[in-house]
């Protein structure tokens, strides 16, 4: 019995892992693009992007997920995304908006003297960004990004709303057979996963700890 349950949960966990990795893969770079938009000199663009970020951060991810999955076919009568794609689109967009704010904070907190020191030494804007600023931003965003990653691990469970068979869904399916413990057992998967991430991030933070002025 235990083996059967574990196997089923593992199947679910593979889905969970896929959602996590794909979301990270898309949202980390998309966050950079959104961040650049939210700091752009061109005001209409900046206002538009900040508006988008406000909406996405101010409404439930579950709502966005449902809207992205059912919206296209119901509103425009076009073929929408399949379930899994809808999850990835919704999650990536949502997390990219959160990341963009973290990036913006990490960038804004770089002392202006770092830019000026580069300028006085004759470095170009690009050189200053890539050789001086970037690593410091990475260091600044590491801790808040770690928190978001752990939140994402748990948010993957939301995808069951549109019937993705991730690990929570699998655990819950045993309730029909009168078993509660498989659902509790899924907690172990989440705990192990977020534990690994915590260790990984604290290692990274340690690695960059020499960067402080």
């Amino acid at each position: 019995m235990f083996a059967t349950v574990t196997l089923e949960l593992l199947k679910g966990f593979v889905e969970t892992l896929k959602i996590f990795l794909l979301t990270v893969g898309f949202s980390v770079p998309l966050g950079v693009v959104i961040c650049m938009g939210s700091m752009h000199r061109f005001t209409p663009l900046r206002v538009l992007v900040r508006g988008l970020v406000w909406v996405i951060r101010g409404t439930p991810l579950m709502l966005q997920l449902i809207l992205i999955f059912y919206g296209p076919s119901l509103l425009f009568e076009v073929q929408g995304f399949d379930r899994f794609t809808a999850v990835i689109v919704a999650f990536s967009l949502n997390y990219a908006c959160y990341f963009s704010e973290i990036y913006r904070g990490g960038y804004s907190s770089i002392p202006v003297g770092q830019f000026e020191a580069g300028r006085v030494l004759g470095m170009s804007k690009t050189q200053i960004f890539f050789r001086v600023i970037l690593v410091q931003v990475v260091k600044n965003v590491l801790a808040p990004m770690g928190n978001e990653f752990i939140t994402l691990v748990k948010d993957t469970a939301l995808s069951r709303t549109i019937a993705i068979y991730e690990v929570t869904y699998m655990g819950q399916s045993f309730i029909k057979k009168g078993l509660l413990w498989p659902l509790l057992f899924t907690g172990v998967f989440y705990l192990l996963f977020s534990g690994v991430l915590t260790v990984l991030f604290s290692k990274l933070e340690k690695k960059l700890s020499y960067i402080r002025s």
Partner: protein, 241 residues
């Protein structure tokens, strides 16, 4: 002809005129010390020379050529060092010359090592800024500025962020540079140091050069009433320390 020629420099921030018709010149190898109360425009003047502020009008000529956009004209040492925290002392010094292709890697490294040696940090080349004292960081910053071989090196209150016991090593470094015949502009509140390092002293008040002359002229026989009163206050503070 003078190495530096500043003519009718003007700079406003909004409604406030911070520099008013600032004109002066500086000979090759001379050290100019700028003194004056806080808010007088000393930092704005240095920043304008270094291209960090765009003057509203006026000219800045180094060797007869406008300094704008030239990285060889001025170097600047900041009050709070502004070292790049992710790089070692040596890397801080080599970064800009490497990017600007000032020589081969080996040449740049060699020069940087010599510069760090000259500011007394040969045993700290592989230390990160976070592992150095304020005085050591400021000396790395001096070496970093020198590595770009600027014709005129500027210092904006290089010791005012330092604990008193660490100011001496930085002031000594600047005195050493003077002996090498470097052309320098130093903003400082250390009057004793000003006297010993300056060929020329400039007193700035409210964006105007109130008085300029040799240390003897300015400290012993100030012409302007404003200068006299400023020095009196400075002297009281200085003696109180």
């Amino acid at each position: 002809m003078a190495l530096l020629e500043v003519r009718n420099l003007e700079k406003s921030f909004g409604e406030t005129k911070v520099l008013k018709q600032v004109s002066f010149s500086l000979e090759q190898g001379q050290v100019l010390v700028i003194i004056g109360s806080s808010g007088g425009g000393k930092t704005t003047l240095l920043r304008s020379l270094n291209g960090l502020e765009t003057p509203d009008s006026g000219e800045i000529l180094v060797g007869g050529i406008p300094a704008k956009g030239r990285s060889d004209a001025f170097g600047l040492v900041f009050q709070n060092y502004n070292l790049f925290p992710q790089y070692t002392a040596l890397q801080n010094v080599t970064l800009a010359p490497t990017l600007k292709k000032k020589g081969t890697k080996a040449e740049i490294r060699q020069q940087a090592t010599e510069l760090l040696n000259r500011v007394g940090l040969s045993d700290k080349v592989d230390h990160y800024p976070s592992q150095l004292s304020g005085g050591q960081q400021q000396r790395v910053a001096i070496a970093r500025a020198l590595a770009m071989q600027p014709q005129i090196l500027c210092f904006d209150e290089p010791t005012s962020a330092l604990d008193p016991e660490l100011t001496e090593e930085v002031l000594q470094t600047i005195l050493d540079l003077r002996k090498e015949g470097r052309t320098m502009i130093v903003v400082t509140h250390e009057m004793g140091f000003a006297k010993s390092v300056a060929d020329v002293i400039m007193y700035i008040a409210d964006g105007v050069i109130e008085e300029m002359g040799t240390p003897e002229q300015l400290f012993d026989h100030p012409e302007s009433e404003k200068t006299r009163s400023f020095l009196q206050h400075a002297k009281v503070e200085w003696e109180a320390m």
